[in-house]
Subunit: 373 residues, 2 copies
């Protein structure tokens, strides 16, 4: 453990070698509990996206608190959860090609109950291949594009055509619809965010109605993510929700009004290594925080110093600036920086250091890091 | 090995499960040879920055070809090289604090000959602490800011003051000056790039003259990087050069005229997983390519399709667009994308797949990945 010497009973943040990813487990656990309570209150099943934390123990806690299952993007992430005994999994990413079919079949053979969201006949064929190889049926959600312009068939006829194909393939069970209005995170104000949710609801409702008239009533209508989860009352059509970021939250979540400051559970702990008249440099750059920026608005929030700006990042350098008249930090100072996008940050770290009661209480191995296949 | 089945003698790129980082070792080896030859011809010692490849076997090849030593940023990277028997190391990053002093002392105790670039009395004290703990002297370069506005003291008097402090500390050997004009990579045209080099040379010359008058003649004048190395004749003052990216090159290097297309040695191998009228989505996003973008100019170069644009990245999604009238790719197609910034890309991958003669010949473990401390 970096910075730890001997076996002191109390190990404090100031003892931790920088840069390091730190998670306040008291705050994170509170975030998990409140989200489950909110989902229960709204009658929505919770399928947390585990890409944010990538830690099997936190995924297990999400299940214990009442989640219906766990969401992942890639087979490699599913394998990490399977190895930890977590088998009710939703793959929110279209698998394409024989190698993916083999990996999904292996998961099915090892006791996983899989659900897959997809948007093409090729991906449906891949999942049917996996079901055929394993003899285990797979539920499929048809992914509908509700404005993000990424994956997803068009609402309405596009979704109906793919749902019919899915329903006709042996081994596949057409289970419903999925959408992800990720552009809500970049909307300029709350009115725009609610408008995106309204349009998403309209598109899903029209698609659902069309499918029902065709005898393909979607049992599941699954929406994402943390921005949605903060506005659950605005999406009455959904049966379930797949937030991920809420476990830790980040600067993007905060700036979009989807969490408050007390719900920020993770930060990068860095040291000022260079100081000049107009700037300081900390030992965490894009390798520590990730280069996911907000155009013109910097790379993170310096806790306790809201006026400071993480102006530029290189791999190992974070350049901090502050308003004229302020004093700024000195070489050797430690700072806690909340990243813009915590999922990308977590993927850069082999482990995180977990605080309980303000002390470093445990090391979280980020077993799902780097599982890009 | 992903996608590999059985023990086929010939294992081709098309067999490789995506997304994957692929390195053409024939091209990379040629890049290493040509750079060493160019440095020899210009009378410059070569201290390659190993952060680009993070692979001990490639660092060893760089030494075998004639490098004077190897550059790293963090102690963790130095430890990886030390464990591979590579001990002549330059730490191009200011160490600050007791934990760093302990790690440097450990490297010195384990047979490393270290040189450190730094820009503050606090970092000099840290290195002196390491030298004191180990009883091994450490060479120090004073880092001069030549316009990047990151680390580095001001040229002239600022450098002289720090050089005097370094020379006065027990265990430290003042060895010379270091600079890194990283802003050359963002200059709009070749005239601007050459002007940056001219100013760097002026600042270093003035500083060197001042130090010589004070009896502190710098034996070493060390400059970076691949953009400099492509223009060695423009920096006559330097005694050594620290390029890193040249082993693989990337889109940024190409666009700055610092390599040609035949010298691009690395790419991300991805599959098209979703196709729509106006876009396709590949299975490599920011977790595969890194989100280091060029403002308004996308996230990579699709080999064989220079008109296509990697328009947006999310963690697992790369959105490809193409000019009206072109056909674009289909679901299942494989694409080779050259990232903007290969160093950031390499840091995301546990391993790279090495081509020789166009076939996948070996797996490179990226032992230096994620060494952010």
């Amino acid at each position: 453990v970096p910075g730890r010497e001997g076996n002191a009973d109390v190990w404090e943040l100031r003892d931790l070698e920088t840069p390091a990813l730190v998670v306040d487990l008291d705050v994170a656990t509170g975030n998990l509990r409140r989200m489950q309570e909110r989902a229960d209150r709204c009658g929505l099943r919770l399928w947390p996206h585990t890409k944010t934390h990538k830690v099997p123990a936190l995924a297990r806690l999400q299940m214990e608190l009442g989640a219906a299952g766990l969401t992942v993007a890639k087979a490699g992430e599913a394998e990490v959860l399977r190895d930890a005994g977590l088998t009710r999994l939703h793959l929110a990413y279209p698998p394409v090609g024989e190698a993916k079919a083999r990996r999904l079949a292996d998961l099915l053979n090892r006791g996983c109950r899989l659900r897959v969201a997809l948007d093409s006949a090729a991906a449906a064929a891949c999942v049917a291949d996996a079901a055929g190889r394993s003899g285990v049926p797979v539920e499929v959600l048809v992914e509908v594009d509700v404005g993000l312009r990424r994956v997803g068939v068009a609402p309405g006829e596009g979704a109906l055509a793919l749902a019919r194909q899915v329903a006709s393939l042996p081994g596949l069970v057409f289970a419903g619809l999925e959408s992800y209005a990720g552009h809500i995170g970049h909307a300029p104000d709350e009115a725009s965010r609610l408008e995106i949710l309204r349009r998403e609801g309209e598109a899903l409702q029209a698609t659902k109605d069309l499918l029902e008239r065709d005898g393909l009533a979607p049992a599941v209508v699954s929406v994402g993510g943390t921005h949605h989860a903060a506005r659950m009352e605005a999406i009455p059509l959904a049966t379930e929700i797949r937030p991920g970021t809420y476990v830790y939250n980040d600067r993007d979540t905060l700036l979009a009004g989807s969490c408050d400051e007390a719900e920020l559970a993770a930060f990068c702990w860095v040291t000022v290594v260079s100081r000049h008249a107009d700037r300081a440099v900390v030992d965490g750059g894009s390798k520590t925080l990730s280069s996911d920026g907000r155009p013109g608005a910097g790379y993170g929030l310096v806790r306790g110093h809201p006026s400071w700006r993480v102006d530029r990042l290189n791999e190992e350098h974070g350049v901090i600036e502050w308003p004229e008249g302020e004093r700024g930090p000195s070489v050797g100072d430690r700072l806690a920086i909340v990243p813009n996008h915590i999922c990308a940050t977590v993927n850069l770290h082999d482990r995180a250091y977990g605080l309980r009661g303000g002390e470093v209480a445990e090391v979280l191995e980020i077993a799902g890091r780097g599982k890009l296949r």
